[in-house]
Symmetry: C2
C-alpha cells in the first residue's frame, strides 16, 4: 500500500478566529487499493470540495446540530467525488456523486454510506461543482426557506444580507424569479457590482454605507422578507425596516461566528419590533426539508439551464489549499460559492 494519500485533519480549535494552524495537512496517508475492495464498496477520489460558513460552528466545542469535528480526525463536508472503482451495482467507474465525506483524497466507502450519495447525471458533469453550490445544499438553503418561511408574493420587497455568498446570491435571484423587488448588502464594492449584475434592484457595501440611512431613502416602503445570512448589527438595522407581518429567514450569522461564544456576540436591542410589527423570525437547517431535496434540486437545475439563475463561483485549486479556502471564506474572500477543485 503506497503512502501517498492526502488528508486534512482538525488540529486545534479556533481562538476565536479560524486559522491555518487549526488544520493539519497529511500527505503520506495510506492509499486504499482497488484490489482490497469488498462487495458493495466503492473507491472514490475527491473532485470538488465545498467550504461553507456552517462548518465554522463544527469547530467549536460542545453540542451542535451538525456533528462537531474531532481533534486529530479529518474535517468532513460536502464534496463531489468520482467513482474510481466499484463493487456496488449502483455506481460505475467514472460517475460523479455528491457525497458528505471526510477530507481525504482517495477513500473506500461502504455500501451503507453509498446509499446517501446523489448521482450527477453524466450530461451535466461539466457543471458538477454546481451540485455543491447553487444546485446543491447552498441552493436548497436558499430555495426551501424562501418557500416555507418567506411565503413570498410577487410585488413584495426582499432584502438579502451576505448577498454575494453562495446562499445569498441564489436567494436574491430566486426572489427576482418569483417577482419580488430585491435589495442586498455585501462586504466589498466588487461584490456589490456582482449583485447588480445578477439583477438586484439595489445593493450596498455595508463597510462603506450607512445601511439604515440608505434603506430609509431607497426602500421607504419597508421590507417584507429579510433573508439573513449575517446576523449582528445588520439584523438590528433590518428589524427597524421591516413592514408589518414581515418574515425574517434566519439562515446564518457569519458576522458573529468568530466572536468566541454567544456572550461576546452583538446584542440585538430592538427585538421588540417582532411584537410591534407582528414579525416572524424563523431559523432552519436545510435537512429539515430532506424530502423536498429532489424536487428542489430539479427546480434549481431547471432555472440554471433556462438562464434564469446565474451561478457565481470562486474556485480555488489543490487539495492542500482547502484550509486557506475555508479561512478565506470566513474572511469574505469569495464571490458566490467558494469551492476547491482537487
Amino acid at each position: 500500500m503506497a503512502n501517498t494519500n492526502k488528508q486534512i485533519l482538525f488540529a486545534s480549535r479556533p481562538n476565536p478566529n479560524a486559522s491555518l494552524e487549526n488544520f493539519k495537512v497529511v500527505t503520506d496517508a495510506p492509499t486504499p487499493e482497488e484490489s482490497s475492495l469488498q462487495d458493495g464498496q466503492v473507491l472514490l477520489r475527491l473532485v470538488y470540495v465545498s467550504v461553507d460558513p456552517y462548518m465554522r460552528g463544527r469547530m467549536n466545542e460542545g453540542k451542535s446540530y451538525f456533528p462537531g469535528f474531532e481533534i486529530g480526525k479529518p474535517i468532513s463536508g460536502g464534496t463531489v467525488a468520482e467513482v474510481i472503482s466499484s463493487k456496488n451495482s449502483v455506481y460505475s467507474t467514472g460517475e460523479y456523486v455528491v457525497a458528505f465525506l471526510p477530507w481525504q483524497l482517495v477513500q473506500i466507502v461502504s455500501a451503507d454510506q453509498a446509499k446517501s450519495f446523489v448521482k450527477i447525471p453524466n450530461e451535466v458533469k461539466s457543471l458538477a461543482s454546481y451540485f455543491i453550490g447553487s444546485c446543491g445544499m447552498p441552493g436548497l438553503s436558499a430555495l426551501l426557506p424562501i418557500e416555507h418561511i418567506g411565503a413570498p408574493k410577487a410585488g413584495e420587497v426582499a432584502f438579502v444580507s451576505g448577498a454575494a455568498g453562495a446562499v445569498g446570491s441564489t436567494a436574491g435571484q430566486i426572489f427576482k424569479i418569483l417577482g419580488l423587488k430585491v435589495y442586498g448588502s455585501a462586504g466589498s464594492d466588487d461584490k456589490v457590482k456582482l449583485l447588480k449584475d445578477l439583477g438586484f434592484d439595489g445593493a450596498w457595501n455595508y463597510n462603506t454605507t450607512n445601511l439604515d440611512k440608505v434603506l430609509s431613502e431607497a426602500v421607504p416602503e419597508g421590507i417584507d422578507i429579510y433573508f439573513d445570512n449575517v446576523g449582528g448589527q445588520t439584523l438590528e438595522i433590518l428589524l427597524n425596516h421591516m413592514k408589518k407581518y414581515g418574515r425574517i429567514i434566519a439562515c446564518g450569522a457569519i458576522s458573529q461566528y468568530q466572536k468566541g461564544g454567544w456572550e461576546n456576540a452583538y446584542g440585538i436591542r430592538n427585538i421588540f419590533t417582532v411584537v410591534s410589527k407582528s414579525l416572524k423570525l424563523q431559523g432552519f437547517i436545510v435537512t429539515d426539508w430532506a424530502p423536498e431535496f429532489a424536487a428542489g434540486t430539479a427546480k434549481l437545475v431547471g432555472w440554471v439551464r433556462e438562464g434564469k439563475l446565474k451561478v457565481t463561483e470562486t474556485v480555488r485549486e489543490g487539495f492542500e489549499n482547502l484550509p486557506s479556502a475555508f479561512v478565506g471564506l470566513l474572511a469574505g474572500e469569495n464571490q458566490g460559492k467558494m469551492v476547491v477543485k482537487i
Copy 2:
C-alpha cells in the same frame, strides 16, 4: 349641563418612566345629558376600566400599531360600560358592554361607534370585569397565539414569563388545560405562590433566582414553547433553554418598555440560537385574529364556568385612581388582571 363629569387626560410623555405627572385628572368636565341623545346614540357610564402594559407604548412619540395618545386628550382603552340611556335599538338601559372608550366617566357614543361593542350577557353581569381580563383581550392574547403560533401538543413543555399577569396567568392555565407541562417566572414570592396555586409545575421569582441555573436543573429536557411577556434578559436565558423546533410567542417586553427607546434596551446576544435550533419567534397583535374573537371568548368563558380557568384580579377602586393603577401595573403591583372599578 352640569360640569361634574370626569376625564383623565394625557398630560405629558414619560421620561422614561410613566408617572402620575403624565396624567391630568379633570373633575369638572361637562356631563352629557340624556335629553340631548340623538337617534342611534347611546349614553354610557364606565363600570370597569382596563389598564394594560401595551398602553405604555401608546405614550411614546411616533408610530405604533395602536394609535398613540394625544397630549391634552383623554387616555383611551378597554372598558366595561353600562348603558344609561339609549336611542339605539340594539342596546337597552342597564345592559353592560365591552367597549374601547376614552377615560371619561359618562359619554355619548354614536351608532357607528356602538357597532364595535360586545354585549355582556345579563346572566354573567357579575363577572363583567372578566370581559376585559381572562375572557377579554388579555385572555384572547393568551389563547389565540397559543393556538396559532405555539401549536402546542400534549406532553410538551411550556414556559411563561410575566406569568402572574393577566395574559401570563391565563396562558399558563391554557397550557395546562391542553396537557402541557408549564413553568413560569414572576417578580415576587407572592406571585410565585399564585402560580403554584394555579397549577404551574414550577415557578420562580426572577428577582431572587438564577433562572438559567434553575432551568438547567428543573427542566433539563428544555422548553418547546416560550410565551414571552417580558423580553430582555429573560428572553436571552430562555433562548438558551429552547428545544430544537421550539416556538417563542412574542407577546410583550414589559421589562424594556421604560428604557427610553430601543437603543437603550437590553441587547439579545444569542439570537443565533434561532438558527442553530430551528426556532420560530413570532410576534402578534391580538386584533390580527379578530374573526376568532367570538369563538375564543366562548371557549374562555366555558373554561371559567367549568372551573378549569381561574381568574385572578387586582381590583383598584375609583376613577381618579386610574393613573396610579396604570403606573402600578408597570411596576408589577398586580396579580392577574389589574382593573379599576369605577
